[in-house]
Symmetry: C2
Subunit: 307 residues, 2 copies
């Protein structure tokens, strides 16, 4: 089934305790698409870049099964640029530069050929833009997943709450779940957030794994303990990409299948953080992905027979 990915395609400059990069390829939709490409072979992209965006990046996305008809390239404008520096523990970072550029007046346009969309992944963007995408779809997708962040809770909470009513799955981190709900306990936070609209909530806890909630059930998946986390940029988006890519391919949106999708998402994210930017998400083999998933199985499986 077809997956539509909407989000930023950008340049990032990243500094971590292990090194720093010049402007490299980044953006939520980039990470999501690359991650999803290991699970599904039909993806459509809606995003925007400037004239400075190299054709080689577009070619690379196409090689990863991404249709770029919906990628607007705006003349005489520059691509969205973010630069940041991670602290020593890699759990927090400072933003150094944010140049919105083409994103300032981004008006997403869903091409006619993309209307047959069964799975919609809305990467982090303003809630108004996310809502505008949903509105353009003549047929409601089977599943809408939305990612957002504290920034929008700070400046556009009303729009966010409005958009949340229209989505099936919300992905946010633990601090954002606490901010959105006003509850410290993630169990209580989840129930409050599920009352806002989404049927499923994924709380991303970075190196501490991820929780999937619906109103009756909860599932937890750890992050893979890694020797080195080199660059956390894009980990959440890679997670979301693996998650929705697997769901789109299997066409099964049951809680049981979402558990599997979370494991595939976690596996993809674990690749992402091992190198700078998107580097480690390009050209993975099926064997590498399968072997990583097997590490998750080995990490958490146990055998208890209760009487």
């Amino acid at each position: 089934m077809s997956l539509l990915v909407v989000g930023t395609v950008a340049f990032d400059a990243i500094e971590t305790p292990f090194g720093k990069t010049d402007k490299i390829l980044g953006g939520a939709a980039t990470y999501i698409s690359l991650a999803a490409s290991y699970f599904t072979k039909k993806m459509n992209l809606v995003s925007v870049v400037g004239e400075d965006f190299p054709q080689e990046h577009i070619n690379m996305l196409q090689k990863h099964h991404v249709d770029t008809t919906g990628l607007q390239v705006l003349k005489d404008q520059k691509t969205f640029f973010w630069s940041g520096k991670y602290h020593n523990d890699m759990n927090s970072r400072d933003t150094i530069t944010t140049e919105l550029n083409v994103l300032e007046n981004f008006n997403p346009v869903v091409p006619e050929a993309y209307q047959d969309c069964d799975f919609l992944m809305l990467g982090n963007l303003s809630p108004a833009v996310q809502k505008a995408v949903i509105k353009q779809l003549k047929k409601r997708p089977k599943l809408i997943v939305l990612d957002t962040m504290n920034f929008w809770m700070d400046i556009a909470m009303a729009e966010l709450l409005e958009t949340l009513k229209q989505v099936d799955v919300l992905t946010i981190n633990d601090a954002e779940a606490r901010q959105l709900s006003g509850e410290y306990s993630l169990v209580k936070a989840a129930q409050k957030i599920l009352a806002m609209g989404p049927k499923y909530l994924i709380i991303k806890k970075g190196e501490h794994g991820a929780l999937l909630f619906n109103k009756e059930q909860v599932f937890f998946a750890p992050a893979l303990p890694l020797e080195d986390v080199f660059d956390p940029t894009g980990a959440g988006d890679s997670f979301a990409g693996g998650f929705i890519g697997y769901l789109a391919e299997t066409e099964d949106i049951s809680f049981e299948n979402m558990k599997r999708a979370i494991i595939f998402g976690s596996a993809t994210a674990s690749f992402c953080v091992e190198k700078f930017g998107t580097e480690n998400l390009i050209g993975l083999t099926q064997e590498q992905v399968d072997s990583r998933v097997q590490e998750f199985v080995d990490l958490v499986q146990f055998d208890i027979a209760l009487v």
Copy 2:
């Protein structure tokens, strides 16, 4: 098989965002023994209290299958007392009072009847005292588990390193693993610590679960997401008690069985934090324990068939 528990039996006064207590029963060996009592029915205790320690607590321990022959009651002396206050996030606390009292010159004596010891759990005490216990045993136990803390790394690192050479399993938290190894990555920390002597390392991450390492394998168990964590005091000791209690009862110290023991330990710890002090560890039914373990199974089980 018989389990020997060595550690503090104490009074605690605790303040959390949810309330505060007067002097209540506490101490590592208390939590360990109570937790272990849900899995094994033969436990020996070596510890020390003062004349102020109520007989009713001793009776209660005995009801939980604890032999108290090795519990020294020192005349004209007072029981070890600790008081502390948890911060709002419950992940950190300030110590308000530490009165060592009987602990100041604690000389553990293993009674002759305890010599037939197959499983030894050394709760947090000075490394020298822990080592003195091991030395008193004429036959080496099948498994020695040692818990310690940053305090001993700060003031008695040499003795701790000496004692570590003699144990099979070390349990510490993530910050302590980083301190002991000098490595931020827990994977790297684990390998360095395993080179210090222990064959197994358990890294306790509080609300983020626990990791079990040996030189070749790693296993992760989450903490149960709870509506409210009321009082974290004793959670690590309850975890250790459930862990060794299960191992002692099953007499199986394979990695596979340690995984199960970790789940039983996590389940016991999840009871502990739901009420003040030891309150919720007293008089649990088998049904309550089984049902809690089933929640862990449901929380983490997934079914992925890789080709």
